[in-house]
């Protein structure tokens, strides 16, 4: 059995739609929507920044739920574990993009790349946490063991994040230094801007679904390859051995 692609009609439809809507977002974000009255052209970064942040959080929630199911089913089926892993991988990618686009926007608007604001700090810790999660998944081990280890880590992350967020909020509110600039990033959006932002969220969600489906199928194949590869190797050694006996 040879598999040359993880694509199916469903993923092709999702991928095509994602491309189409992304195309519209790019055109609208750069050429059609007006510049913001306060932030100028830097507001255009928002059309990429907000959707990536949304996807990152969606991805981590998906990982947490899938890990919960994986534990509840005692890792009998590895499907949930593969979805959890695929989703976390995409989540880390999108969170990196969120942090990069966010700091570029911050440089233009606040004058600094980074602010130790609660939301930013929590996001950074969330990012590092899931980088650790992926590092554990990368260890070459039996898929079932991978599932049980990584689901525990994913569920502990759910416990950790509210604590991190709470302590960072408390930390910043007790901090007595005055904030450097007005960090109020809220933008008043007109209809078209809002629609473009919304399209961006839809486009990125489709991309997320598309990536997770493909990644999940790829993990299935590589897990399968471990088993099939081992069987094939054993058969080959046996063949060698019997050939040696008859010769």
């Amino acid at each position: 059995m040879t598999v040359s692609s993880t694509g199916t009609p469903t993923t092709r439809v999702i991928g095509g739609l994602a491309l189409l809507i992304t195309g519209w977002v790019v055109v609208s974000a750069f050429f059609i929507t007006p510049a913001d009255s306060v932030q100028g052209d830097s507001v255009r970064i928002m059309y990429a920044h907000v959707p990536t942040a949304w996807i990152a959080y969606l991805a981590f929630v998906t990982t947490a739920i899938a890990s919960g199911f994986s534990v509840a089913r005692r890792h009998r089926t590895l499907g949930f574990d593969r979805v959890a892993g695929a989703s976390a991988e995409v989540g880390v990618l999108f969170m990196a993009m969120t942090l990069i686009t966010g700091s570029l926007w911050g440089r233009l608007t606040w004058g600094t790349f980074w602010q130790w604001d609660p939301r930013l700090t929590t996001t950074l810790f969330l990012f590092v946490t899931y980088v650790g999660y992926l590092a554990v998944r990368r260890i070459d081990t039996d898929p079932r063991q991978r599932a049980s280890r990584s689901s525990v880590i994913a569920l502990l992350a759910v416990l950790e994040i509210p604590l991190v967020h709470f302590s960072v909020v408390l930390w910043r509110s007790l901090h007595q230094e005055a904030s450097v600039l007005n960090t109020d990033g809220d933008v008043r959006l007109d209809g078209l801007m809002l629609f473009t932002l919304f399209s961006g969220v839809v486009a990125f969600t489709l991309i997320f679904v598309w990536l997770v489906i493909h990644r999940q199928r790829l993990t299935t194949l590589s897990d399968l390859e471990r088993v099939v590869g081992l069987d094939a190797a054993i058969t080959a050694r046996r063949a060698e051995n019997s050939a040696g006996v008859t010769a």
Partner: protein, 226 residues
């Protein structure tokens, strides 16, 4: 309860006979404090940063102590026999956490003293009560999280580098709370005593959350590896 104490006693006896803490971890932690002083190169800055630096050194040292606490279990598959002897894996968890707590508490006492001697931090009057409470609660959090993540990475290849990567982000709230509360105990200008006690509340919640999560997760964690 007997099981918890027995496991803790076993770990502490091994520690006492090998003296890893005394011979390696304490010198390492002190070295970190000295290196921070060299890197910052300003006495005013050091005094301001003293509380944070003490807890940074504690976090790094915890990684070493936890590594050691689980190496003694995995080397001869000792964990399997230990779990076979007791009905409840959660008791083994609390036992190991208790032993870590004792070791880390001793280390914290050394580091706070070092901060007073080297950085010129001062503690007096009723601030001593705050300081002791902070050290107890924060060390409790370090011990539970350390035991939990030590069990997560036990038996993994490359666990030396995975443990800090996984555990340090989780310890971030503890670092924030313990540093701020210790700042208050050192009589810092930025945080008053009442806020210091508020941070102790955070530390207590943190230790309870990870104490119960660790006990619950310990059984599936140790089972899967056998």
């Amino acid at each position: 309860m007997n099981t918890i104490v027995a496991v803790a006693k076993k770990d502490l006896r091994i520690e006492w006979r090998t003296r890893t803490l005394l011979a390696r971890v304490v010198p390492f932690a002190l070295l970190v404090l000295v290196l921070f002083a060299v890197a910052l190169d300003s006495e005013a800055l050091l005094l301001r940063a003293a509380a944070g630096l003490v807890w940074m050194a504690m976090l790094f040292s915890t990684m070493l102590v936890v590594q050691r606490a689980f190496d003694i279990e995995t080397s001869d598959a000792a964990m399997d026999s230990l779990l076979a002897c007791t009905a409840q894996p959660s008791r083994v968890f609390y036992g190991k956490a208790l032993s870590l707590f004792v070791q880390l508490f001793a280390l914290a006492a050394v580091l706070v003293t070092a901060a007073v001697v080297l950085y010129g931090a001062s503690v007096n009057g009723n601030r001593v009560v705050l300081l002791v409470t902070v050290v107890v609660t924060a060390t409790g959090g370090l011990a539970t999280v350390g035991t939990l993540y030590g069990a997560v990475v036990a038996n993994m290849t490359g666990r030396d580098s995975l443990l800090p990567l996984l555990a340090l982000p989780v310890l971030a709230p503890l670092l924030i709370a313990a540093s701020r509360a210790t700042e208050a105990a050192f009589g810092s200008q930025t945080i008053d005593l009442a806020n210091g006690w508020a941070w102790v509340g955070v530390l207590v919640v943190y230790a309870i959350v990870f104490g119960s999560a660790g006990a619950a997760a310990f059984s599936p964690l140790t089972e899967s590896d056998s």
